[in-house]
Amino acid sequence: MFKIITNEEVGPDIFKLALKYDQLPQKPEPGQFFNIKVSQELSDDPLLRRPFSIFDFKSEEKRVEFIYKVVGKGTKILSKLKNGTELDVLGPLGSPFSLNNMNKEINLIGGGMGIAPLFYLARKLEKQNAALKVYLGAADKSELKFFENKFSQLKSEIYLASMSEELTIQGTALDLWLKKLEKKPDFIYSCGPEKMLSAVEKEALRNNIIGEISIEKRMGCGIGVCLSCSCETKTEDKKNKRACVEGPVFELGEVVLDA
């Protein structure tokens, strides 16, 4: 059983949701997601769960946090739920980011709500003494504020970009990364709109940079049974991979992205 302990607006239509759980089937890793039912018990609408990446996780407090944006019916309903509400939640699901980056130079590139899964990742990477540079972009500065605050609690270098206003630069997370990219990192992690990921991937591969991305695919089940989330791959056998089981984290160059 999961219970809402925080559900508050932390940016324009951006909410922080903190849940307390009784127990979890396994320890959540960065890049994994939870699948949350937002409808009332017994109500058949909305029918499907909504997937959200782990923003942060604190095992001592039995607490898992998400940052979500209100974009449609499900997130709107979620944003109205009050503290104390019990939620039906499945997870952690999916394959996490790989985490064998002891002492390495790491770049994190996040666009929009794609920033959410990078925070718990960053926390974990810091524990491995990785040197982090974080590149965050969003349409408007106001969408970055909360993330900026959180990331500035870490030791990473932070760069910000928004389309509306010059921060570190005016532009996208990709522009920002390319502009600031001096030294080739050992590994990059990126999450954001598919078009951005596609561009990041192109630049990375061109520069022989390896890394991982996390993608958002419309999901039916989130547990691998329905094949709604199939991704075309660039691997030799071209066998599809499921974003909910083999993903949502994929290696750069592994799956076909919408450009």
């Binding site: 058949d44 499907l48 089940c221 049974v225 199939s230």
Partner: protein, 314 residues
Amino acid sequence: MLNLERRDLDLKVSMKSKNNKSLKLKNPLVTASGTCGNGKELAEFFDINQLGAFTTKGITVKSQSGNKTPRIAETSAGILNSIGLENPGVDSFITDILPETKDYTLPILANISGYSKQDFITLAEKLEGKEELSGIEVNLSCPNIKGGGMVFGTDSEKVFEITKKVREIYSGYIIVKLTPNITNITETALAAEEAGADAAAMINTLSAMKIDIDRQKPLLANTFGGLSGPAVKPVAVKMVYDCYKKLNIPILGLGGVRSGADVIEFMLAGATSVGIGTVNMIEPSAGLRIIKEIEDYMLKHQIQNLSSIIGAAH
């Protein structure tokens, strides 16, 4: 007998056909093809052997990578899917998937789809004699493959022809799965029965679509999809009810089941067994909960043999 307790309850159903074939299930719950993978994934959540039977994801003669994404859309109390029968093809099914099902003790049904009569013949030939299978489900109703299943499924003659061919080849239990996208489903159901089907399954999904109003384009990459989930249940129950009056073979009823009450509703309408599809996508261990709810209903109404309620609403 009064004061029945849980241990006294008998949930067994037997799908006895006119051909003297029978599929015996420990309870009426059958997983619906395409919504439960091939078992492994659900098995992580509970022991799937507690269900009545398992139907595998639809297979075709050749491997298929399915439709482009998005392949899924949510609608009011329902979902649209246009997976497009992504599957490794029947040969790989036989070599890779079937052996994996050996660990299961529940009956396994293979769901087959084709683009031509010849496809169904090939599939039946390849599956004939496979011991892992308790039967096959002939999908004459997939709305997601062009020129495919559903076109056959709306034409009683085609239903008859294909079923007859498959019957000649396949000696095991044959379920013919029918489409609801039709004026009168009792006609195709009767055609299947006459051609030798052991049971009729209904319903597959309703043809439907959703438009993304911001992009001003159909939301699914495939334009159309099949509607399933609670939204369609009242349509499915009526089709089962209508067919029960006309058919002499058992019915596998499905469409929108979410609870034990829904299973009871299908059985009262005339279904001998009941499929659970979309619900598994939302709640992987739904089957277990549903069995418990069926038992609760039997206790409340002091019904010892679940099979006694089949068709009781008529």
